[in-house]
């Protein structure tokens, strides 16, 4: 057991890469989720179709297959990605598809009366979305987004299969150098658990902040958010 603890520089290096993957993947997923989620609320049927195609396709693919495709198949048609780029791209595209459903569901869950009040104040369509609808929808998005970030963090373990030195990758290394199978995996699992708990804490803080801004009692906001999550099947 002490041998495994002695390998802490490797563990920390791996954990740092896992955190980096989580942050970069989440950033990409957030951008995609907003872009395609809002496309799903558009008036034009063509723009909405864009949302459907993205969501159905990337929710349907297995992230590992996608990553293998970027890493092994695409170089053969002349597109060569670094492992890190292929990893972030596949994680972001996949979680972004779930996020897009959360965004679409949350925007639709803002009461229609709010939209009507914005029309009565003569706000332009862009202003209605930016000033009235989105700020309220964000409160509903936060809890499911938090779950998605944790899913992405866990999902990032697969990058070890394309030789990225994340936390999971270090397990094999440490196991080989120390011969301690049990404690190596226990240490790795506990580190993942800690990262997940920290992420959960951050999400809860963010929720509380938004609740305060909207003058909501937390319980109610969470119930509505759960309803949204249930509706999008996230």
């Amino acid at each position: 057991m002490t041998d495994v603890l002695d390998a802490y520089p490797q563990l920390l290096k791996g954990a740092w890469i896992t955190v980096q993957l989580t942050l970069l993947g989440s950033a990409l997923a957030l951008v995609l989720a907003l872009a395609f989620g809002l496309a799903g609320t558009a008036r034009s049927a063509w723009v909405r179709a864009l949302n459907r195609v993205y969501v159905e396709f990337f929710r349907g693919t297995a992230t590992l297959v996608l990553m293998y495709w970027f890493f092994y198949a695409l170089p053969l048609v002349g597109l060569r990605f670094t492992p890190m780029f292929a990893a972030v791209l596949s994680l972001g595209l996949n979680i972004g598809a779930y996020g897009a459903e959360v965004v679409r569901g949350s925007v639709r869950a803002v009461p229609r009366a709010q939209y009507e009040a914005a029309v009565a104040l003569n706000l332009t369509p862009a202003q209605r979305m930016r000033r009235v609808i989105l700020p309220q929808a964000v409160a509903l998005m936060l809890p499911p987004f938090g779950n998605l970030v944790i899913e992405l963090m866990k999902g990032s373990a697969i990058v070890s299969l394309i030789t990225i030195g994340d936390l999971t990758f270090r397990a094999k290394q440490i196991q080989n150098s120390t011969g301690e199978t049990l404690w190596t995996y226990v240490a790795i699992l506990v580190l993942y658990f800690v990262i997940a708990q920290v992420l959960q804490l951050l999400v809860r803080l963010a929720e509380r902040r938004v609740d305060r801004i909207l003058g909501r009692r937390p319980g109610r906001a969470r119930r509505r958010a759960r309803a949204v999550a249930a509706e999008v099947g996230g």
Binding site: Y68, L74, L76, V77, T168, I188, Y192, Q197, Q200
Partner: protein
């Protein structure tokens, strides 16, 4: 490099073999997840604080750590305790165990949604405890959450390629093997990708149909 159809035809049998393993692992893993999830849920309703708390933390731990690492744990650590499992068996157990923590949440939500009046009616009839659960509450709860459980079957199917990391020659591993023989990865992996999208999209449509039917009969 162009798409080679002859080559595609050559590797197809290998891929189908892989698909067989993928489906086996998904279905058996799902059975474990569906049963074990219910066990977790019922254990959390026991009066014992210790059991309740232990189950809560165990499921929370399994849910918030990666399936891949859990597969490694089952495949590499258990043998040091004298429990040696074949790769496929380890994979099935890993999938089932991981997803049982998700199905447990689903059941919990379903049970919470059963109207209070149903409990009160059961108490009024003076039914013994097990009868209340198995004849009154669970049938209603499970019927409500059937579509959600269906979604997790799809999710498990999409996570099954992880089994290649413990040497199960499922679909993606078969594709990878075929590719490394000829150093042509484009056809096999693209094929696998298309297959996954097809199966997932078709089955989500089925789940949505199930959803409308469940709502309709409510």
């Amino acid at each position: 490099m162009d798409w080679d159809w002859t080559y595609t035809g050559d590797i197809l049998p290998d891929l189908l073999d892989g698909l067989r393993l993928t489906v086996t692992a998904t279905v058996l893993g799902y059975l474990i997840a569906v049963v074990l999830g219910l066990v977790w849920t019922l254990l959390r309703r026991t009066p014992s604080r210790v059991v309740n708390g232990a189950v809560r933390w165990i499921t929370e731990f399994i849910r918030s750590t990666p399936l891949l690492v859990q597969l490694f744990f089952i495949y590499y650590v258990l043998p040091t305790w004298g429990i040696t499992l074949g790769a496929l068996t380890a994979g099935i157990i890993g999938l089932g165990l991981h997803y049982s923590t998700y199905t447990a949440e689903v059941y919990r939500g379903g049970i919470a949604d059963v109207p209070r009046g149903q409990w009160e009616a059961a108490v009024a009839l003076n039914l013994p405890r097990p009868r209340v659960w198995f004849d009154v509450i669970l049938p209603q709860a499970v019927r409500r959450v059937l579509p959600t459980l269906g979604n997790y079957l799809i999710a498990m199917f999409k996570d099954s390629p992880l089994l290649l990391a413990i040497n199960v020659t499922e679909l993606l591993a078969a594709a990878y093997k075929a590719g490394s023989h000829s150093l042509r990865f484009l056809e096999p992996i693209t094929l696998v990708g298309v297959l996954f999208v097809l199966v997932s999209v078709v089955s989500s449509i089925l789940v949505r149909l199930l959803e409308t039917r469940t709502h309709a009969t409510d």
